[in-house]
Symmetry: C2
Subunit: 144 residues, 2 copies
DNA sequence: AAATTAAAGGATAATTTTGTCCTTTAATAT
DNA sequence: ATATTAAAGGACAAAATTATCCTTTAATTT
């Protein structure tokens, strides 16, 4: 569904959100350990998230990553997915056709459209804030 | 969403279905041309479909691929997807966790579950027969 | 200002997915 | 029986994704 990079991105963002809510800025090592991801690879992903203004990064001692509390409800899963995987999953054809539309649909177009739109809606309506709450409250988990 | 292999598999199966409904057995070259896929790569995929009893293959002169008409309504999209991509898309966690369950859910578990189940249901209830009709009737397309 | 800390970024490597080529096997037709 | 046809299968290659290592840049602390 999502690329590995995107999975890491979502996990990392949620973890950073939890920590930011507690007033903590977190470093790469911390994040990679917490979400069980390769450190250097995770660094690249965090860079992308930072460039896309999904997270903030601070260099130097006591540096690290954080998310502005006021922005946290604004950030939706869809933005993370778009930033890392692009928007093929929201807009793309189920069979990968470039030109697949209402007037020239592929065989699965109508059936696929329904699912794709529901996925899109779900991602657009799910905030990082919301997901971080479940994690902070111990209702959800980022590792086994 | 689906791998390239799986996209080819679905396209090929639908095309074979249309031809089988018209009493034609079709060869690899024909299929690859029609669905705009690399020939040798498509051959591998057709082998997998054949091994999984989704299509039948016949060697030698006038050989090729076909689908039993009586079986055609039985074959669902879900079987093609399972055969080629496995069942991660039906069962897997949205964030890729091995152990993600109701009692130990990942942060997106509840929201993702809904979409995944709808996708599963759609694929399980969509027959190749059904999709081949739209194509045969000129309502849907396998190329631009 | 100098030393230290941590992210940014470039280069490279491993793995997986996608794609190609060539030989073998099995069926049909002559 | 032999030749021909077309799928099956093995080995290999290219491309994309995932992952690692090392240097540079930008902060903070001393």
């Amino acid at each position: 569904m999502f690329s590995k990079s995107c999975e890491y991105a979502i996990k990392a963002t949620i973890y950073i959100a939890v920590q930011s809510n507690q007033g903590n800025r977190v470093g790469l090592k911390d994040i990679a350990r917490e979400i069980a991801s390769p450190e250097a690879f995770t660094a690249k992903i965090l860079q992308q998230l930072s460039r896309n203004h999904i997270i903030d990064s601070v260099k130097g001692p006591n540096g690290g990553f954080q998310i502005d509390k006021k922005e946290m409800t604004r950030i939706k899963l869809s933005q993370i997915v778009s930033a890392i995987d692009g928007d093929a999953i929201f807009k793309g054809c189920g069979l990968g056709f470039k030109e697949c539309s209402e007037k020239k649909p592929c065989p699965v177009h109508d059936k696929f459209k329904v699912i794709r739109n529901e996925l899109k809606t779900m991602l657009e309506n799910t905030s990082v804030q919301e997901l971080s709450l479940g994690l902070a409250n111990g209702l959800t988990f980022l590792h086994r």
